[in-house]
């Protein structure tokens, strides 16, 4: 039976082949080779620097000499609860919540249309249209909005021509929402935030709706559900993971932002701009570090709430 049996001892092989055989025999070695470099980067450089920063929150800042000494104290963290600092936190937090809710409301119909009604080139067009604003510099866009929203700017001109001037005046008069003009109002800042973070909300929702099998919607209609009932009972609950993912973006990006609050809206610090001011102009690194902890804690709280609501069950 020599015709069929090709007897060939395995070639000793080059070192490369022996190495690849070794990796094949030891999948864990293979896996660790893939994971160690990014984990080193993530652990040492990313988490390490973050923890170092937070550690500095316990250092002492001398107001008189402007010097930082490594004497450990909780003063910086307790200072967060002083009314002036706490105001900043509340202001930032409420803006982040408002921006997340508004983004979800605006993003959902677009995401739904993209996921269920477009295909091929139309879908590609929508992807590009959603992401196109991200190709431009974020600061340029924020500046552009200050002009659009300024007194005599396009937005106000448009509102005047629609005959809605008095409505705008009324809205700008509401404390906590308004301001002297759109570009110096909370409303204007809110609009710019929603504009800038909207793609981060659209894409996750779109992805979650894309995964929804069409037969589920048909089954819902088949069982007698009107379109509104199908939306409330089937589509929305199943898109919650997408909405949660998107809101994590919008929420955390708003919490940490320090450019938009400087360019648009009324005076007053945000958490991000406070960190910027503390470590830049003032040189109070410990206080900046303490403020850095605020968004981290808030996002941790937010994630635990979202998790408790079951948003990640479907993942």
């Amino acid at each position: 039976m020599n015709t069929l049996a090709i007897t060939r001892t395995p070639a000793p092989g080059s070192p490369l082949r022996r190495f690849s055989n070794l990796l094949y025999r030891r999948p864990n070695l293979y896996l660790s080779m893939l994971l160690v470099p990014p984990l080193l980067w993530f652990g040492a450089i990313y988490l390490g620097s973050l923890l170092t920063l937070l550690w500095q929150g316990f250092y002492t800042f001398d107001d008189f000499t402007m010097a930082v000494t490594p004497d450990l104290t909780l003063a910086n963290f307790t200072a967060l609860f002083q009314p002036s600092n706490f105001d900043i936190i509340v202001r930032t937090l409420s803006m982040a919540i408002a921006v997340s809710i508004a983004s979800a409301i605006v993003a959902f119909p677009i995401a739904y249309y993209m996921a269920r009604y477009t295909r091929g080139k139309t879908k590609a067009f929508f992807y590009i249209a959603v992401m196109l604003p991200m190709w431009a510099s974020y600061i340029v866009k924020a500046y552009a909005w200050t002009l659009l929203l300024a007194k005599g700017g396009v937005a106000q001109w448009f509102v005047q021509h629609l005959g809605l001037g008095p409505v705008l005046q009324f809205v700008l008069g509401i404390p906590g929402v308004g301001g002297s003009t759109l570009s110096t109002s909370h409303l204007g800042r809110f609009l710019v935030f929603v504009y800038i973070w909207l793609p981060f909300m659209i894409l996750p929702i779109q992805a979650s709706l894309e995964r929804l099998p069409p037969s589920l919607l048909q089954a819902s209609a088949d069982l007698g559900a009107r379109p509104r009932q199908t939306l409330m009972q089937v589509i929305l609950p199943l898109s919650v993971p997408g909405i949660a993912a998107g809101s994590i973006f919008t929420f955390s990006l708003t919490l940490g932002d320090f450019i938009v609050p400087q360019l648009v809206g009324p005076p007053g610090y945000f958490v991000g701009s406070m960190v910027y001011a503390q470590q830049g102009a003032i040189g109070n690194m410990p206080m900046a570090a303490a403020f850095t902890l605020v968004p981290i804690v808030l996002i941790a709280i937010y994630l635990s709430i979202v998790k408790r609501l079951g948003a990640f069950d479907a993942l």
């Binding site: 589920l216 009932q229 009972q233 609950p237």
Partner: protein, 345 residues
């Protein structure tokens, strides 16, 4: 007798493709009606037209006498068991089953009770709290069935519901579905590409091909008296004899069908009303309960003969491939076929 579903010259076009082409069917109330055909033959589209997921391009669909064209799925008194079951992953089994009642505004206590009853009916009594992902394929199938039946529809549509199950489970579910249909007395419209399934379960079967109906008949008639070459070849296996040989043997120019099990080896003198042909034995296939002999006829056509292995340790060595053989069949077992799609029924 009232009609559960009536199609009158219904067409459904997708672009240039006619998925359903001038189909007319009358489905009786309380009937187990199957739509059988290869994939892309239009059977599923017909089911979706009844459910309301598609609207006809032309023609009229009546459900229990009422014009259904233009009605949305939620306005129709029919329910569907989907091929992929389409259970809501975020609801537990009981909420899935109770969904139809919930959206119609049935009070909570009643809908829980009815959902539990429906689950009992499909032998899933204790499974109400589970999520669909925790169930096996067969169990999901039953939940889908309970979810459709809890609404007490007059017509139940089943879109290849057994396709994803393995053979044993499928056979078991076939029996249960048939029993359930008799018990409830509602119309079942069952879409399948599996001819054995269609034959064994249905009162009547419609055979689809290329968007048209080739034949609507009882399983027995479908098998014994196929109307067209397509039906003869799709339902069971058949020898379809065409051309000059067909004219020579039957006296008609049309092709005819003869089932392999109606062909037997020649023995003794030729009886009146019998036909004999000669060929070479080309292949022998042992199939367990039967053995199939493949003959090459003089004109190159293949003829199959199937012999039931009724004898214990029956040996097939008496025949050798390559040997010349004569085979016979009774004239009345030949069925003359139409080559064209009949369309009208």
């Amino acid at each position: 007798m009232t009609l559960a579903v009536q199609f009158t010259q219904v067409s459904r076009q997708f672009g240039d493709v006619k998925a359903v082409d001038r189909v007319s069917i009358d489905i009786q109330d309380g009937e187990f009606f199957s739509m059988l055909g290869p994939s892309g033959s239009g059977k599923t589209t017909c089911l979706r037209l009844i459910a309301g997921f598609e609207q006809p391009s032309a023609g009229s669909i009546r459900i229990h006498g009422e014009e259904a064209t233009g009605l949305a799925p939620y306005q129709r008194d029919v329910n569907t068991v989907f091929q992929d079951y389409a259970l809501f992953p975020h609801m537990n089994v009981r909420d899935n089953v109770a969904y139809g009642l919930k959206v119609k505004g049935v009070a909570k206590a009643e809908r829980i009770q009815r959902a539990n009853e429906a689950l009992e009916m499909v032998a899933l009594g204790g499974y109400g709290e589970r999520k669909p992902v925790q169930l096996s394929g067969g169990q999901r199938q039953r939940v889908a069935l309970a979810r459709a039946l809890v609404n007490r529809p007059r017509v139940l549509l089943l879109d290849e519901p057994l396709g994803a199950l393995d053979l044993k489970l499928r056979e078991q579910m076939q029996g249960e579905l048939k029993k359930l249909q008799r018990q409830l007395g509602i119309t079942f419209i069952f879409v399948t590409h599996d001819q054995t399934e269609a034959l064994s379960m249905s009162d009547r079967v419609a055979v689809f091909n290329k968007g048209r109906i080739e034949q609507v008949d009882t399983p027995r008639n479908l098998y014994m008296k196929p109307a067209t070459t397509f039906v003869a070849e799709f339902v069971g296996t058949s020898n379809v004899i065409r051309g000059e040989l067909a004219r020579e043997l039957s006296g008609y120019p049309q092709p005819f069908s003869i089932r392999p099990e109606h062909v037997r080896f020649a023995d003794g003198p030729l009886a009146s009303g019998e036909i004999e042909v000669h060929g070479l034995l080309h292949d022998i296939q042992y199939q367990g309960s039967a053995t199939r002999y493949e003959l090459k006829l003089a004109n190159g056509q293949t003829l199959n003969l199937s012999q039931a292995n009724t004898q214990w340790l029956d040996n097939t060595t008496q025949h050798q491939t390559g040997q010349p053989l004569s085979v016979r069949w009774a004239r009345e077992a030949m069925v003359t076929l139409h080559d064209t799609v009949s369309g009208e029924v």
